[in-house]
């Protein structure tokens, strides 16, 4: 792919090289996909819910400005302060400003893909703050100094033995321990101390309700509740697309979200926040960071419907075998491969091609985003903008020249069957034959179909 950009094929090949690990990763995620299937099957109205969710989101996209204003007014009425950030830098500055004003030194965070997208942690750390991710998976990758590899299962690429070793080094658990319960207890004890010492809590937002001005955060560990119940300052960070019109709509999304994400009927905690607690402050930072550009594009607008359930990652046969880190974006997988090029098409030009166009993502998506068609549209966009590698450009041009003229097509076919495919193996399977590295080419038939047809029909 382009030289400066993300080289997904190379990163994927590295992941695949460790065959047993790649298979372990594939199976771990397939297990989640299978759980999702069971959970979805338990609801006879599943497909109706998907359709409903997609309609609600379409309405939100069409009227986003109005819903945002309604939300701001209602949230403000309940005592929250609403901030607007044009991009990641503004978002980070707003959060830092709030923390500094409260003289906060220690911050606990619950999971938020938006703050990953904005690289908030490193930014705050550079300014001398102590930031702890309190979602267990997030905390594990933070201790390893890595980004998450999956939006719902941030540490899915790490084996429990490796977590045991990490905890042994970082928090002094027994050497060699890998029992998940033991490790989780140790983490919980340590994180409890962080919660108690925190000056501020930062959360993400799963849904913001225009009608009420409330926000909803879904977690399985209750860490958003704990992180906002103890400190006096709660900062909730959200992309502007998280809006839903009414509290009633929530039932549609909550039923879809957890089933799609992990196969649970509902997340263990769905925490509703309606304004600050007594004597505390609640701030909501609404972030654009490229979203209004996407909103303005007919082709890609629907990608803003995403509720970040991760199902498209679990089902993607490429993601399962190449790992989340091979995408080099905060949101990887099918949806990430649509969102990333809209930020920087050249940098992420390889991502829409990291896809066999099988279409599984579009069918699994709870809000019915036509993911694989959008990936195809991105391929066209990348070609138009001149970011397609020259090998693909030239080979497609040559193919067209051959295929528009039946005589040349027949000649090329003749060469293929009579010369190329009959070359000695050593020559045929040369280093440039990417197909033939692992696969044989088909044995050449004596005649083509058209030759046989023409003989039979005397044409």
């Amino acid at each position: 792919m382009s030289h400066s950009g993300v080289d997904h094929p190379r990163l994927a090949a590295e992941f695949v090289k460790n065959d047993s690990r790649a298979h372990w990763h594939d199976q771990a995620l397939w297990f989640v996909r299978a759980k999702r299937d069971k959970a979805a099957q338990s609801l006879p109205e599943w497909e109706t819910l998907r359709e409903r969710a997609s309609q609600i989101k379409r309405n939100v996209s069409a009227n986003l400005a109005d819903y945002l204003e309604e939300f701001e007014a209602n949230a403000t009425k309940m005592g929250a302060t609403v901030h607007w950030a044009r991009d990641a830098a503004e978002h980070n500055q707003i959060v830092l400003g709030l923390l500094e004003r409260h003289n906060a030194k220690r911050v606990v965070k619950s999971k938020s893909m938006l703050t990953e997208e904005c690289h908030l942690n490193p930014f705050l750390e550079r300014h001398g703050l102590n930031v702890v991710d309190t979602d267990l998976g997030e905390w594990i990758v933070q201790l390893r100094n890595e980004p998450p590899s999956h939006i719902v299962l941030p540490a899915i690429h790490i084996k429990k033995e490796e977590v045991g070793e990490l905890f042994h080094r970082k928090i002094g658990t027994d050497s060699g321990a890998s029992d998940p319960t033991y490790l989780a207890r140790a983490a919980r004890k340590r994180l409890r101390e962080e919660f108690l010492a925190a000056d501020a809590g930062i959360t993400g937002v799963n849904f913001a309700i225009a009608e009420t001005g409330g926000i909803v955060v879904c977690t399985n560990e209750g860490n958003a509740d704990l992180g906002t119940s103890l400190p006096k300052l709660h900062i909730a960070c959200m992309g502007i697309e998280k809006l839903i019109p009414r509290a009633d709509d929530l039932s549609v999304f909550l039923r879809l979200l957890a089933r799609s994400a992990t196969g649970q009927p509902i997340t263990t905690y769905s925490s509703h926040f309606h304004g600050p607690r007594e004597g505390c402050e609640m701030h909501i930072v609404l972030v654009d960071n490229g979203r209004s550009n996407i909103l303005g594009s007919d082709e890609f607008r629907r990608s803003l419907n995403c509720i970040r359930c991760g199902a498209c990652m679990n089902t993607c046969p490429v993601f399962r075998r190449s790992g989340g880190h091979s995408y080099k974006t905060a949101v990887p997988g099918p949806i990430g491969s649509i969102l990333a090029p809209s930020r920087d098409a050249q940098q992420y030009a390889s991502l829409p091609f990291a896809c066999s166009l099988c279409g599984s993502c579009s069918d699994v998506c709870p809000v019915k985003i036509d993911l694989h068609h959008q990936l195809l549209t991105w391929r066209r966009e990348i070609t138009v903008r001149g970011h397609l590698p020259w090998t693909k450009r030239v080979s497609m041009k040559m193919a067209r020249i051959v295929l528009v003229r039946p005589a040349i097509y027949r000649m090329a076919g003749f060469l293929l069957r009579k010369v190329v495919l009959r070359m000695p193996r050593a020559l045929l399977y040369n280093p440039w034959n990417a197909w033939g590295k692992s696969r044989d080419l088909p044995p050449p038939p004596k005649q083509t179909f058209r030759q046989i047809y023409q003989q039979r029909h005397g044409k």
């Binding site: 066999s356 279409g359 699994v364 041009k397 528009v404 692992s438 088909p442 179909f449």
Partner: protein, 249 residues
């Protein structure tokens, strides 16, 4: 009823048996079948690589060549999906576009939906693994994709199951992609190969003797791996099985 036989370019060149099987299946139904010899390729490889300007002239040729027929039938879900679902962006304003789109069918759906035939005379006394080629499944809706919570059906399976003696084996992942994906197979060769091996393994553990699919492109990729790794698994296109061909050696 005049049927225009649409044989994908690589099938014409590399898998003539599949073209013949398709021709025989249709002719046996008493249809008048014609193979317009000027045809080459529908343009899918270029379109899926993002090169619309290279795909467009091929799409235009296709429309002109096939507009004369009552129906257009191909032994490929993928190429039919190209015409049905993706020509709009390339040649949507062509005078023949809408008519050709509506009369172009994949072989199995042509039997079940147009001819209303769900039984094929013949026998195939073998254990068969059916690979659900993605485009036939999710783009043409030739069956229920495992992600969707709708009633279960498969147009290909119905026809295969009507043969005497056939036994379709149960796979652990019923419709996972084989990893061919056109230029994906070369550009992302490592992942593509792993996907292919995993599919083959699934068919092996299910006890299949013959692996079949509605798209020869999937099978070209899978049989390339099978031959390289000397795996004891035969590969046949659905049309070959339905036409009563012997197991290919």
């Amino acid at each position: 009823m005049r049927v225009g036989l649409f044989i994908p370019c690589y099938v014409d060149q590399l898998y003539p048996r599949v073209g013949l099987a398709t021709l025989e299946l249709l002719t046996r139904q008493g249809l008048e079948v014609d193979f317009p010899v000027e045809q080459t390729c529908c343009g899918q490889p270029m379109s899926n690589t993002g090169c619309c300007d290279d795909a467009r002239p091929l799409a235009e040729r296709f429309l002109e060549i096939f507009s004369a027929y009552d129906y257009v039938v191909a032994p490929s879900g993928s190429c039919v999906s190209m015409v049905r679902n993706h020509y709009a962006e390339l040649v949507g304003d062509h005078p023949h576009y809408a008519a050709v789109r509506d009369k172009t069918f994949e072989l199995c759906e042509f039997f079940t939906d147009v001819l209303q035939i769900e039984r094929i005379e013949g026998a195939f006394p073998h254990r068969v693994g059916l690979h659900q080629s993605c485009h036939g499944l999710r783009e043409l809706r030739g069956g229920r994709a495992s992600e969707l919570m709708v009633d279960s059906f498969s147009k290909t399976r119905v026809l295969l199951e009507s043969l005497d003696g056939i036994e379709l084996v149960e796979l652990s992942r019923v419709d996972e992609c084989c990893g061919f994906g056109g230029t994906f197979a070369v550009a992302e060769a490592a992942v593509s190969t792993m996907m292919g091996r995993d599919r083959i393994h699934d068919h092996q553990q299910a006890g299949a003797e013959v692996l079949t699919a509605g798209d020869m492109s999937c099978l070209m990729h899978l049989s390339g791996l099978i031959r390289r790794e000397k795996i004891a698994l035969h590969v046949m296109h659905v049309a070959e099985i339905l036409a009563g061909y012997e197991v290919a050696s």
